[in-house]
Symmetry: C2
Subunit: 311 residues, 2 copies
């Protein structure tokens, strides 16, 4: 989803100039895929990272991942895709760097996640809060960050890792992620469907729109990485709000009828998972570096209506 948003953004906004070429690599592509050269493949397959790197892209957005729920169910697959494919990609880029006599030093932007953090938390996480993940997905993202920082420190590439907030409002269908409901309770009522709320309205979480996430990625691709000073994993800005505040924002936009479509159906398993998620961040570094998110949940809904809503 984010990859397609990003590709559409790059192809329409000319972030990298009018003659920039887009090379898309994925397991498969949707029908309404962004324009650009497409390669279908699996990054974990032997030799694939090497053949992608051999194209010597100037900027690489590495978003390939097994989602959190699946990485928890299929342990080997999660580590293979979320860490070992990153490892293969980094080494393939390093090989190109060396083959070019040091000329080729690509910019790499890695989609990390706030899943690198695990409870216990303070109410608000600072830029210096430790990575102590409580999921395999979080551990794999945190280990990838360490690799990217070290390959960058050695000058083989110029990488950053962006710890994205939960993306909301996600378009399309609900998925298996435990965080899916944060989007469902907004998207489904706006589309006149029922939505299930499995947690208490007091639950507070950290959100940004898919559009904001795409701008984080392009900003990281063009920013001055000298300013990062070896700390190349950045907590991205976002909006901290409770489920009650999300629902109030929905009421502002779509009225009580929409809100009435949210059905409370407490789910202890989801409550337990969500309890271990961060609630709020103080993202001074990212803000100083020019990353911008929405400033309210109302604005996040507005972005969904502008970018993805088709009744």
């Amino acid at each position: 989803m984010l990859g397609q948003k990003l590709a559409h953004r790059i192809s329409t906004q000319e972030t990298f100039g009018a003659d920039a070429q887009l090379l898309l690599f994925d397991l498969s592509f949707p029908l309404d895929s962004a324009p650009g050269k497409k390669i279908v493949g699996n990054l974990t397959a032997s030799g694939i990272a090497k053949s992608v790197a051999a194209q010597r892209p100037d900027v690489i957005f590495h978003l390939a991942a097994i989602v959190s729920g699946q990485a928890e169910k299929d342990f080997a697959l999660g580590w293979d895709v979320n860490l070992m494919a990153t490892w293969a990609l980094l080494n393939a880029l390093k090989d190109e760097h060396e083959a070019s006599g040091g000329e080729y030093t690509p910019r790499l932007v890695f989609a990390s996640s706030i899943a690198v953090f695990g409870s216990p938390f303070p109410e608000k996480l600072s830029d210096e809060f430790l990575s102590a993940p409580l999921t395999s997905y979080g551990a794999q993202k945190a280990a990838s960050e360490l690799m990217i920082t070290d390959f960058s420190r050695k000058g083989y590439l110029d990488g950053t890792s962006l710890r994205l907030p939960t993306l909301c409002v996600r378009p399309g269908k609900a998925n298996a992620a435990a965080s899916s409901f944060f989007s469902c309770i907004i998207r489904e009522p706006l589309n006149r469907n029922e939505a299930v709320l499995p947690v208490a309205e007091t639950v507070r979480h950290w959100h940004a729109s898919p559009r904001a996430a795409a701008t984080f990625l392009t900003h990281a691709a063009t920013m001055d990485t000298q300013l990062l000073n070896y700390r190349r994993a950045l907590n991205m800005p976002g909006v901290s709000c409770t489920v009650a505040e999300q629902i109030e924002a929905l009421r502002d936009v779509a009225g009580q009828d929409a809100v009435g479509l949210i059905r409370r159906e407490p789910d202890e398993a989801i409550e337990r998972i969500v309890k271990n998620w961060p609630r709020d961040f103080q993202t001074d570094r990212a803000l100083e570096l020019g990353f911008k998110a929405e400033s309210s949940f109302d604005e996040i809904i507005q972005v969904y209506l502008e970018d993805d809503f088709r009744l």
Copy 2:
């Protein structure tokens, strides 16, 4: 060095009972090696981790590593030994766990390092200070910690990572590590040899004796890991002192003649590296869990005299 200290300690102190069997795995063994079954091999070689795991040891001390200076020089070798061999070992143990129907869940104690931390630092690092390493060695240790914590969370094994202070006074010859002088300026004068001090006397650092490190490892092998609560990487206690304080401790033990053997020879390269090392820690968690280090540098010298000094 630490592996041999640990093996001698286990074989003489009956930490694991009188009938415990010691299985030593290394690239080679010194002549005065501790007793026990010895396997010579390279943990990075294909299938080796599997054959070690197949012995189903109850407790595994994983100390195998390329040292910091060498990992910085040979990037590929460092990642291979310091991370990928850990990965192979963890997977081999997981395979045994699964083959046993979940019966076999070994205790794993991993020698991590304060190299997982990178500047800028507060004067004193808390148990919650982030891992932002500035060396490949530190990144490899930090990534290994993430794996060990995740394999443990999933119940495949029962692992802890101990972030050891700089070991001082190391017996034997000086090595290539940038930290080597911390031991040299004590050991060499005690042995009536000259020693070179490459940094200012105001440099403050974090030390523990090799004996203390061996007791950390055995304590971690027998402690109640339920108390760790998913944060399985622990900062070990130690002694924070300046080089000037080290020299004063040497004077107390061996007099001005010994101190006179220390030759000041500032080395900018070493100064630059050491500047990025932590100076002091507040290790509340480890102390509460029963880990104990020396309480002064005088005591650290005393341990060297008792354990390793032979004039």
